[in-house]
């Protein structure tokens, strides 16, 4: 005797967290039932496989109907079809938009295009994230990216409003298209990049200045995902620090005198100062050109982190150096620039 039709509808929509997890992970009903069986639910509840199947199918149907609403979380709050307690709604949204860091790391900086989506098979194989889950997460990234693309105001806040905070980093990367896939960047995790993105947005973006953007300023019209053009333009002025030999020498002597005896790698610092300083300043100067922006992290690793590492700088050494390197000049622009660079480097300086 087979059940052709089998539904259960509660006035309050039942959400089973375990089944939701299985659904999000992209398991079919049969796979989900198998996993639930392995979880020992049968023994605990003394029920039958048929009941478990029916239950799983019910939940899957509910999730499929909910998915449309999850694509626009504010609608989930307004809709009348499913009566779901607020804390459950929050859970649904959070879990739906949660992502696997391994996958996010793979996708960082990639264009969220159809082409990329086609490569998800490989990504799935590399990261061990199920292909269906990969696709869903990819679509999430894309949906968030699209939704905030046109919006004004601070990126992080926009995303927070519409979705969840974590996405700011991904959108920021997708927007600026930083290169993250090179082999020498492989040691960096998604969390590293997310922290960097947060520092960069925090220090450099328009919204970060703590004052409402002047509506007459040209940046006010720009989406917040882009770094403000005027700021990037201003960064070019910093080049004088390394182009002008006197300024460079002066900078070096200030930093060296401050650090003498306080840092274990003083000799190496003295020898490399000019190269380091050039790298640090030029990274910023290149940010105006989209093509060079891509190399931001590559440059930092290649020209700062790797030399320091080969000279066996400790993270403490790097912190001390960057603090004094920044403090040696008093200029708002310089401090704003170096604050993010310092944060990024310190975060990235590990094995």
């Amino acid at each position: 005797m087979s059940s052709d039709l089998d539904v259960f509808v509660g006035n309050t929509t039942l959400i089973d967290e375990e089944v939701y997890r299985l659904w999000l992970d992209g398991h079919s009903v049969a796979e989900a039932v198998a996993r639930r069986l392995r979880g020992g639910v049968l023994e605990r509840e003394g029920t039958s496989v048929a009941v478990l199947q029916s239950d799983t199918r019910d939940h899957y149907r509910t999730f499929q109907m909910l998915e449309r609403l999850l694509h626009a979380p504010p609608r989930l709050l307004q809709q009348l079809l499913f009566q779901i307690p607020p804390e459950r709604q929050a859970l649904l949204v959070q879990r739906y938009y949660a992502f696997d860091e391994a996958l996010a790391r793979e996708l960082l900086g990639k264009k969220l295009s159809k082409g990329t989506k086609k490569e998800l098979d490989e990504v799935s194989a590399r990261t061990g994230v199920g292909i269906r889950s990969c696709r869903r997460q990819f679509d999430n990234f894309k949906r968030v990216f699209k939704a905030v693309e046109e919006l004004r105001g601070p990126l992080a806040e926009n995303i927070q409003q519409l979705f969840l905070l974590d996405y700011a980093a991904i959108v920021f990367f997708a927007n600026s298209r930083f290169e993250t896939g090179k082999r020498r960047l492989q040691f960096l995790s998604f969390a590293d990049f997310a922290a960097c993105a947060q520092s960069m947005m925090g220090h450099w973006s328009q919204g970060a200045l703590g004052e409402p953007p002047d509506p007459r300023a040209p940046e006010a019209a720009e989406p917040d995902g882009d770094l403000p053009k005027s700021f990037l333009q201003d960064l070019k002025e910093l080049k004088v620090l390394v182009a002008d030999k006197d300024l460079l020498d002066q900078h070096k002597s200030l930093v060296c005198s401050a650090l003498r005896g306080k840092i274990s790698v003083y000799n190496e610092l003295e020898a490399n100062f000019k190269a380091l300083s050039r790298a640090l300043v030029n990274v910023g100067g290149k940010l105006t050109h989209a093509r060079d922006v891509r190399d931001f992290f590559v440059d930092l690793v290649e020209k700062v982190i790797e030399p320091c590492r080969s000279d066996k700088w400790s993270p403490g050494d790097l912190r001390l150096f960057l603090t004094h390197y920044t403090a040696a000049r008093h200029q708002a622009l310089w401090e704003r620039y170096m604050a993010a660079i310092t944060a990024c480097l310190l975060r990235m300086y590990h094995d």
């Binding site: 005797m1 039709l5 539904v7 259960f8 006035n11 029920t47 149907r61």
Partner: protein, 1090 residues
């Protein structure tokens, strides 16, 4: 022109994209009422239009206001082609037509399309200005309140319960009109939805008129159903109980509330003050009524024939005054005559209520039911209601005479239903025969009650809310001497005492003295269709008991078909009854409440499903066990097998007794007689095989007077049946289930509730189906469904499924559809344990709290003087059960006149099939469910209840918060107080699809549709300003599919009462007026004098 309807269209949101090119919609709205239509402007290029229209005003008479729904259509404007409909909203404006209900309807409504489902939402405001000159020629009945609730609604009190009202309207089904061939499915569905809406309005108006004629102001227990007869038409019919209700004053609404339902019920009569009317005619009433004295010679036989049935009935009808001399005192006769005469004035003394004001129910006779098979294509004039009216009148007449046969003058818990397959229709009616206290039935009342009430008040008030159950009984010294002793039994068991004459029993039955009061006779088993009276004393907990049955039937046409159905029905009734009785015994219980037997007819089979809640009534004797008797006692292995089965059965009974905590006090046997069967002496109940009538006569069980229930295993079928008895698995631990409102033995509900609907359609795919395999399949289907419910709701443990309501349909060959609606309520386990301990410690086994103990005082006081009265226990006791039908209502009946069943086939037009009666009665004392507050659990549920759907992590979605609307099939919400009834919700929807696969197959389609129905109900309630629907019921769910064409269609009809409730925890926070408790006596005294 007595009314002005005003409508404003505010805004829309989440509209579907209607213009693919722009991904936007140019929406406008048509507002239609009657023949008048208004339109809003087009709001271009938006999915969230803000129309902010002017007020559209319709000037209409109130008849129209009652009949017509307000129809709102959202359309997409198209310059070049016809405008596309997005969807519709139908709003029933009836709740705005009486002053105490809603004053405005305002809110977001889902825009519904019968093909696409919900497509966005629309914000609408509706108001009605009623002019007050509407008295001239009443075609309308504005102002009559309707309640689905089958008890007196919580914030009202019943001044008078007038009685039965019914109405029926017929129309041609649009689906079967010629035009249906050329119009779109959408147009056809909408025509049907609109027609049913119109017919419901008309029906309600007509019933309202009848209520006004009876001088009532409300209909309680309103049940409206529709019959899709196909070619012969569409019938909408309704029954209800007309009442005069008084709204309780506001102060009472803020009395410290108690969270147990039973207590709440008591509270109402407590607050209630004697109505002036009830006293006005004073003592003259009984005297006056005597002039109507009951004539035993008067024939109650139904004119409708059915000779054998009549024969068996007629003698019993004489019971009234004829047997008066044998009864305990003259008063019984007097009382009876009085009530009888009050009821006799009514054509049908029926009440759709299932719960009553304390004292209303004097005795319960047993279940009465009647069925009849009709051929729809024989209706002479299908467009007129006359034929159907006559059909129902016939059935009701039959019910009435059955009740008479049980010595009862009224039928309570009454309901009607139909099952239609092609041109065959089975009409069914059932109820519980009862003797009622006349006080509520007419304007006059007995003075004794008044005096008693006054004298008792101080005592009751000191206790709290306890008084209701006593004051209608003539129990004080005055009244008892005046009224006679026999009514003097404690109210807790009075209703179990047999109402019929012991010497003139309608059927052979085994009577004992009431285990509670020891004064009156009670039957050994009691079946009823009502809820457990709150005052009943119950031992242990109750449980859901179902009997399930399939019977194959040859495919046949017309009369042959009707005949074969008629022939099958009695066997089904009998078998269902046997199953119920066996299962009841297997659980060690002795009474069934809320019994509902559904017989469904299909092309090639009949299905029977009976659900009821079994309990152990302290007043009734302990049920005997079940004995198995083998047929061939010489075979050793066979004997071994039998004894093995016997052991299994005994084990099950023992296990069940433990599970349901049934520990009746040990009673000295000599007092009662021997409740424990002596194996040699037992009577044997017989399983009748439907094929052979001779077997039936062979097993006459009516001799002997023992309790044991014998199952004779005479063939493999019998063996199967015994097996199936044992396959019913008890619910997993932490779960209880019942189909009544409240679960006996559980009294500490938390506010956490979950109402749900589950639907299953299964194919009974056996190649050569036999009754046995079908039975097994059907049984498995039901059991699996229950199992699956328990699993789904496991997070609510400990919890009880209440009001479990199964409906069975046979949509086509071999397909069985089962729909279940119920509510799961979590209870507090710790407190449950405490409460359970109390009764086990007490030999009286009362589920009591401190309150209850105190309550005992007044009860004892009032019974003491009575017991000192000369008392004649020799009153005849009789026990009812059905007889004329040949179905053994109690266990031993099986008379030869059961042959009467077979008569029916000869005239299928009026196939009276069967009707059987059950009864018994019991006695008990007041049970008082505790009023323990459950604060911990309140917290758990509160976010759900009052939550605004805003959450920290998703902060900004500011513009709207969807208010939570609770739904429950019960008449109350645990832990909450209903402060206002906003009106009846009665909605009918059709959904159709031509892309079944794309919508997730049949399950996806129906899942979405049920969710949509819930959403629309909630939206309407919220728009009325309510936060819950009580007495919610899904009356119909008709599902049809055509997988080959990728199509499916479903019709759903739901109803309930929209209410506003306030959490008790919130009530407590209100400043407690010191006057709330104290002024009660004065206020009630004051009312008395007015």
């Amino acid at each position: 022109m007595p009314g002005k309807l005003k409508v404003k269209i505010v805004a829309g949101r989440h509209l579907p994209v209607m213009d693919r090119a722009s991904d936007l919609t140019d929406a406008f709205v048509e507002v239609k009422f009657g023949n008048t239509t208004f339109k809003t402007d087009v709001y271009p290029k938006s999915l969230n239009p803000q129309w902010n229209s002017e007020w559209f005003k319709f000037e209409v008479d109130d008849e129209e206001l009652q009949d017509e729904p307000l129809q709102i259509t959202v359309l997409d404007h198209d310059t070049y082609s016809a405008n596309d409909a997005i969807g519709k909203v139908y709003i029933d404006i009836d709740p705005l037509l009486y002053s105490e209900a809603a004053t405005v309807i305002s809110g977001w409504f889902p825009i519904y399309d019968t093909i696409h489902g919900i497509r966005g939402e629309i914000n609408v405001v509706v108001k009605v200005d009623l002019f007050n000159d509407l008295n001239r020629f009443r075609q309308s009945s504005c102002g009559v309140k309707f309640f689905c609730t089958t008890s007196i609604p919580k914030c009202y009190r019943a001044v008078i319960i007038h009685g039965f009202v019914e109405e029926l309207v017929v129309n041609e089904d649009p689906e079967y009109q010629w035009i249906d061939r050329i119009r779109t499915p959408r147009a056809s569905n909408e025509a049907r939805q609109r027609l049913i809406s119109l017919m419901s309005g008309e029906l309600q108006r007509k019933i309202g008129l009848k209520v006004l004629e009876m001088r009532g102001n409300a209909v309680v227990g309103y049940l409206q159903c529709f019959d899709l007869e196909g070619e012969s038409g569409l019938v909408v019919r309704a029954i209800g109980t007309a009442c005069t209700l008084d709204k309780l004053s506001n102060t009472s609404a803020f009395l410290p509330a108690c969270n147990s339902p039973s207590k709440e019920m008591k509270e109402i009569p407590f607050n209630e003050d004697p109505n002036p009317n009830t006293y006005s005619s004073g003592p003259s009433t009984p005297l006056k009524n005597q002039t109507y004295s009951f004539s035993p010679s008067k024939s109650y036989s139904r004119q409708s024939s059915s000779s054998d049935t009549d024969l068996s009935l007629t003698p019993k009808t004489g019971m009234g005054s004829g047997s008066a001399g044998k009864e305990g005192g003259p008063f019984k006769t007097l009382l009876r005559q009085q009530t009888q005469s009050a009821l006799e004035q009514r054509e049908f003394p029926f009440f759709t209520l299932t719960t009553f004001p304390p004292g209303f129910l004097v005795h319960v006779g047993g279940v009465v039911s009647a069925r009849s098979v009709k051929l729809l294509d024989r209706i002479h004039n299908p467009d007129e209601p006359e034929t159907r009216d006559a059909w129902w009148a016939e059935i009701r007449q039959e019910i009435k005479s059955h009740a008479k046969a049980l010595g009862c003058h009224a039928v309570v818990g009454y309901s009607e239903s139909t099952s239609i397959c092609e041109e065959v229709c089975i009409l069914s009616a059932s109820g519980t025969a009862a003797v009622l206290n006349p006080r509520f039935l007419q304007d006059g009342t007995m003075e004794g009650c008044l005096e008693q009430r006054l004298s008792w008040q101080p005592g009751f008030f000191s206790i709290g809310s306890e008084k209701g159950e006593v004051d209608f009984f003539p129990q004080s010294q005055d009244s008892s001497s005046l009224l006679g002793i026999e009514e003097a039994s404690p109210p807790g068991c009075g209703f179990c005492h047999i109402p019929y004459d012991e010497l003139n029993m309608p059927f052979p039955a085994h009577l004992t003295y009431c285990y509670n009061c020891r004064k009156q006779k009670v039957p050994d088993v009691l079946f009823t269709t009502i809820d457990l009276p709150v005052e009943a004393i119950v031992i242990g907990k109750g449980c859901l008991i179902q009997a399930r049955l399939c019977r194959l039937k040859k495919k046949a046409q017309a009369e042959a078909n009707a005949t074969s159905i008629s022939n099958l029905l009695p066997f089904m009734e009998y078998e269902v009854h046997t199953q119920l009785m066996n299962k009841l015994k297997l659980r060690g219980m002795n009474a069934l409440f809320g019994l509902r037997i559904q017989i469904t007819v299909g092309e090639n089979m009949l299905m029977g499903l009976a659900s009821a809640t079994g309990v152990y009534l302290a007043a009734l004797p302990t049920p005997g066990g079940i004995q198995i008797a083998g047929k061939t006692p010489n075979d050793a292995t066979y004997d071994q097998h039998i004894s093995h089965m016997q052991k299994k059965i005994n084990d099950t009974i023992a296990k069940n007794k433990e599970l349901y905590e049934i520990n009746p006090p040990e009673l000295p046997e000599e007092i009662i007689g021997s409740p424990i069967p002596e194996p040699r002496q037992r009577s044997r109940l017989l399983r009748s095989q439907s094929e052979s009538s001779d077997e039936v006569t062979e097993l006459d069980l009516s001799h002997g007077k023992k309790d044991a229930f014998v199952l004779e295993i005479d063939d493999t079928d019998a063996m199967e049946d015994v097996h199936s008895l044992l396959t019913d698995v008890p619910p997993p631990s932490g779960f209880y289930s019942c189909n009544t409102e409240i679960m006996p033995g559980i009294n500490n509900w938390t506010p956490e509730i979950q109402m749900f609907t589950a639907v299953r359609v299964s194919r009974l795919s056996t190649i050569n189906p036999t009754n046995q395999t079908l039975n097994k399949n059907f049984n498995d289907l039901c059991e699996n469904l229950l199992k699956s419910l328990y699993f789904k709701l496991r997070s609510m443990v400990p919890c009880c499924l209440c009001h479990v309501n199964f409906t069975v349909a046979l949509p086509e060959d071999e397909l069985v559809q089962i729909a279940v609606t119920a509510v799961a309520i979590t209870y507090d386990k710790n407190q449950a344990l405490q409460a359970n301990k109390a009764p086990t410690e007490k030999s009286q086994q009362r589920a009591s709290t401190d309150n209850e103990e105190q309550l005992q005082f007044p009860l004892e006081l009032c019974s003491d003087p009575l017991s000192s009265q000369p008392f004649s226990p020799a009153k005849e006791v009789l026990e009812g059960a059905s007889s004329h039908t040949g179905i053994p209502a109690a266990q031993r009946v099986l008379k030869s006149h059961s042959g009467s069943w077979f008569r029916a086939g000869t005239s299928p037009e009026i196939d009276r099939c069967n009707s059987w009666i059950e009864l018994i009665k019991l006695k008990a004392q007041t049970i008082r469910r505790g009023s323990i507050k459950t604060t911990t659990s309140l917290e758990k549920a509160s976010p759900l209840a009052e939550g605004y759907l805003r959450h920290r992590s998703v902060p900004s979605c500011t513009n709207s918060t969807v208010s939570v609307v609770k739904m429950t099939p019960l008449s109350f919400l645990p832990g909450a107080k209903i402060t206002k009834y906003l009106g009846i919700i009665n909605m009918f929807f059709i959904r159709e699809t031509t892309s079944l696969r794309e919508e997730g197959g049949v399950s996806g389609f129906l899942h979405a549709f049920i969710a949509e129905v819930f959403a629309m109900v909630r939206a309407h309630v919220a728009a009325l300003g309510g936060n819950a629907v009580v007495s919610y019921i899904m009356k119909q769910c008709v599902f049809m599919e055509n997988p080959n064409k990728n199509q499916a269609q479903c019709l759903i009809n739901v109803s309930g009462d929209a209410v506003i409730f306030v959490r008790e925890s919130e009530l407590e926070m209100l400043p407690v007026q010191p006057s709330t408790a104290a002024p009660q006596p004065t206020s009630s005294a004051g009312d008395v004098t007015t």
